[in-house]
C-alpha cells in the first residue's frame, strides 16, 4: 500500500479535537437550562475520539486514552442506577432528585442537582457504547 502523508489532517486534528471536546463538555453542563445534556454531550465527545481515530489509528488512540470502553459503559450505568437508587435510602420514591444552592469558591452561587450525576452516567454510557461499536467494527477482519 502506498504510504500517504497525513500531516495536515493530523495537525488540524490536534487542535480541533480539543475544541470539540470542550464544546461537548459545555453542551453537557448546559443541559439543565438550555438545549444539550448527557446524550448529545457524550455523542460529541465520542465524535472527537472518532476524529482522532480517523487521523491516527486504533493503536495510537489506545496509547493516549487507555480506556476499556465496555467498562466505561458499565460504570456509567452503575452511576445512573445508583443515583436513582440513592432515593431508596431516604425512603422516598425511586428517581426523586434533590438540589440546593451552594457557594463555590470560583463559580459563586451555583445550584447543584443530583440530576447531573444521572447525566454523567448517561454521558459515559453514550461514549462507551459509541466507541465500543466503532472499535469492534474497526478491529474485525
Amino acid at each position: 500500500m502506498r504510504k500517504t502523508n497525513d500531516l495536515i489532517l493530523q495537525t488540524v486534528t490536534k487542535v480541533i479535537s480539543f475544541i470539540i471536546i470542550l464544546f461537548s463538555i459545555h453542551l453537557f453542563f448546559a443541559g439543565h437550562y438550555t438545549p444539550g445534556g448527557g446524550f448529545i454531550g457524550g455523542l460529541m465527545t465520542a465524535a472527537a475520539l472518532v476524529l482522532l481515530l480517523l487521523a491516527y489509528d486504533i493503536k495510537t488512540l489506545d496509547n493516549i486514552l487507555p480506556f476499556d470502553y465496555k467498562l466505561m459503559t458499565a460504570a456509567g450505568l452503575l452511576i445512573a442506577v445508583l443515583t436513582a437508587a440513592g432515593s431508596l435510602l431516604f425512603n422516598v420514591p425511586f428517581f426523586t432528585h434533590a438540589y440546593d444552592y451552594f457557594d463555590l469558591p470560583l463559580l459563586g452561587e451555583t445550584s447543584l442537582h443530583t440530576a447531573v450525576l444521572f447525566d454523567i452516567g448517561v454521558y459515559m454510557v453514550v461514549i462507551g457504547i459509541t466507541m465500543t461499536i466503532i472499535q469492534t467494527i474497526g478491529e474485525s477482519e
Binding site: L78, V81, P93, T96
Partner: protein, 493 residues
C-alpha cells in the same frame, strides 16, 4: 418501604450492571445471577403478601403525582407474573450452568438474562403506556443478543428475521401510542381509561384498539401474525428457547389483557369479537403445526401458539369466569412450557438431535426423566389434578356462560391434539427399542433433570393446591373486571 413495587426491576438491573464489570469470570457470573434472581423472587413474594393485605401498590417515580409522572402499579396480576418470571428465570439459569459451554457463558449470556428480566418485570409492573414500550425494548434488545449468541448459521439467519419483525412491530407500537396520545392527550394508563370513558367517540378508539391488537399480536404470536415464531424459536439453544417460549410471548398476552380490560371495554361487540376469532384461529393453526412435525422442539413451539390462543379466548369472552381462567392458565403455561422445553432439551442432549427418528427407548436408561415428561404432558393437556385443568375449565365455562358454543368446543378439541402431540414425543422417544445415542452431553442428563423437576413440583402443587391459589387469582381478576379499582388506586381521587 414504599419502593417495594420497584425492587423486582431494580435488583436484576443492578446485578446486570455489576456483572458487566467482569464478563469473563464465569463462576462469579453464575453466583451473582443466581443470588439476584433469588432476591427478585423474594421481593415478589413480599410484594404479593403486601398486595394481598393492602390492595394495589402504586409508586410514583420521582415523587411526581400520578397523571404527570410515571407510576409503577403492582396489582395482583402483575405481581404474580413477576413472581412466575423469577421462578422460570431461576430454573433456566440453573439449567444453563450445566447445559451451556464456557465459551457461551463468557460472552454476556447472564447479563442478557438479567436485563431480559428487567424488561419483563418492568413491562408487567408499569402504569404508563410509553414506559411499557421502553421496557418492551429493554427485553427485546436482550433477546436479540440471546438469539444470535453463538453465531451458528441458522441463528444468524433467524435473528435477522426476528429483529426485522420486532423492529416493525415496535415502530407500530410507537405509532399506536402516538394515535392514542393524539386522541386522549395522556400516557398514564389509568388516566387514559378515564379519558376514553369521557370521550364518547367509539369510532377512533376502536381503530386504535385494533392497532394495539396488531402490535401486541405480533409480539404474542396470534393467528395471522405468528409466522415469524416457529423459525426464530427453533434457532437458539434450549435454555434461551425456554426463556423465550415461556416469557416473551406471554408479555404480549399480558399487554392485550391489560389494554382490552382497562382501555377498550366500551365497544366490546367489535373488538372482542375479533380478538376471540383470532384466538380461536391461533388454536387451530397451532394444533395443525403441533400435529404436523416430528421434531421435538417444533411440537412444543406450536404448543405455545395454542396456549396463547386459549388464554386470549378467555380474555375475549370478558366474563369473570373467562378472565379468571385466563389468569390461571397464563401462570400455569409459563411454568409448564419452561419445564417441557427443559425436558425436551435433555432428550436432545442425550440423542444429539432434535428429531424423533433418532430417539427411542430412553425410559430404560432414564426412567426419572421419562416419567417427569409424562406428568408434564398430562399437565399441559389439563388432566384434572394437575395444573392445566382449572384454567381451561374456567375458560370453557366462561365461554359457555357467554352463550358461545364453537369457541369452548374448539378449546376442548385442542386439548386432545395437545395431548396427542406431546404424547407423541413420549411414546416415540421414551418407549420402543433403544437407539445409538450420539449426544455429547448425555452424562449431564441427571443434573439437567433437577431444575426441570423443581418446576414440575411447582406446577403440580399449583394444580393440586388450586384452592389455596384461588383467592390470589380472584384478587388479580378484580381490576380486570372493574377498571375503576385500578383507576382509583393510581389516581387516588
Amino acid at each position: 418501604m414504599i419502593n417495594l413495587p420497584l425492587l423486582p426491576i431494580l435488583i436484576p438491573l443492578l446485578a446486570g450492571v455489576i456483572l458487566m464489570f467482569f464478563p469473563k469470570r464465569i463462576k462469579a457470573q453464575r453466583t451473582i445471577s443466581i443470588i439476584s434472581t433469588v432476591a427478585t423472587i423474594a421481593a415478589a413474594v413480599v410484594l404479593i403478601a403486601e398486595i394481598r393485605q393492602n390492595g394495589i401498590q402504586t409508586l410514583n417515580l420521582g415523587s411526581w403525582p400520578a397523571p404527570f409522572g410515571i407510576p409503577l402499579v403492582s396489582d395482583m396480576l402483575s405481581a404474580l407474573l413477576v413472581l412466575t418470571t423469577g421462578i422460570v428465570t431461576l430454573a433456566v439459569i440453573w439449567y444453563s450452568i450445566y447445559y451451556l459451554e464456557d465459551e457461551y457463558e463468557r460472552y454476556f449470556y447472564y447479563i442478557a438474562v438479567q436485563f431480559l428480566m428487567v424488561g419483563l418485570n418492568g413491562a408487567f409492573t408499569t402504569g404508563d403506556i410509553f414506559n411499557m414500550f421502553v421496557f418492551f425494548e429493554v427485553f427485546l434488545i436482550s433477546s436479540y443478543l440471546l438469539i444470535v449468541l453463538g453465531g451458528k448459521k441458522a441463528q444468524l439467519r433467524e435473528s435477522v428475521k426476528y429483529v426485522l419483525i420486532n423492529v416493525i412491530s415496535s415502530a407500530l407500537f410507537v405509532s399506536a401510542v402516538a394515535y392514542l396520545y393524539g386522541v386522549v392527550g395522556t400516557l398514564n394508563m389509568a388516566d387514559i381509561s378515564v379519558k376514553i370513558a369521557e370521550l364518547n367517540d367509539p369510532g377512533i378508539i376502536t381503530v386504535i384498539a385494533i392497532f394495539f391488537l396488531l402490535v401486541f399480536g405480533l409480539k404474542g404470536a396470534i393467528f395471522p401474525l405468528y409466522f415469524w415464531l416457529p423459525g426464530s424459536y427453533h434457532a437458539p439453544p434450549i435454555p434461551v428457547l425456554a426463556l423465550f417460549g415461556a416469557l416473551l410471548t406471554k408479555v404480549g398476552v399480558y399487554a392485550i389483557m391489560r389494554t382490552y380490560t382497562l382501555f377498550f371495554y366500551h365497544d366490546t361487540g367489535y373488538t372482542h369479537m375479533i380478538l376471540g376469532v383470532l384466538a380461536l384461529l391461533s388454536i387451530v393453526i397451532g394444533s395443525i403445526g403441533a400435529l404436523a412435525y416430528r421434531d421435538v422442539k417444533m411440537i412444543i413451539i406450536y404448543n405455545i401458539i395454542i396456549a396463547v390462543g386459549v388464554i386470549l379466548y378467555g380474555v375475549a369472552v370478558m366474563t369473570p369466569d373467562g378472565l379468571e381462567g385466563a389468569v390461571f392458565y397464563l401462570l400455569h403455561d409459563m411454568i409448564i412450557k419452561t419445564a417441557l422445553f427443559l425436558l425436551v432439551g435433555i432428550m436432545m442432549a442425550i440423542a444429539g438431535s432434535s428429531h424423533l427418528k433418532s430417539m427411542g427407548g430412553m425410559i430404560k436408561d432414564y426412567p426419572l426423566i421419562g416419567w417427569t415428561y409424562f406428568v408434564a404432558t398430562l399437565s399441559l393437556a389439563g388432566i384434572p389434578p394437575l395444573s392445566g385443568f382449572i384454567g381451561k375449565l374456567l375458560i370453557v365455562r366462561g365461554g359457555f356462560g357467554a352463550g358461545e358454543m364453537i369457541g369452548p368446543l374448539i378449546i376442548l378439541g385442542s386439548s386432545l391434539i395437545v395431548l396427542y402431540s406431546a404424547m407423541k414425543i413420549f411414546t416415540n422417544g421414551f418407549w420402543g427399542t433403544p437407539k445409538e445415542y450420539t449426544g455429547a452431553k448425555a452424562h449431564l442428563a441427571s443434573r439437567l433433570w433437577i431444575p426441570a423437576a423443581v418446576l414440575m413440583v411447582i406446577a403440580i402443587s399449583y394444580g393440586v393446591g388450586a384452592e389455596a391459589v384461588r383467592p390470589f387469582i380472584t384478587q388479580a381478576v378484580e381490576p380486570l373486571i372493574d377498571p375503576a379499582i385500578y383507576i382509583e388506586a393510581v389516581l387516588k381521587e
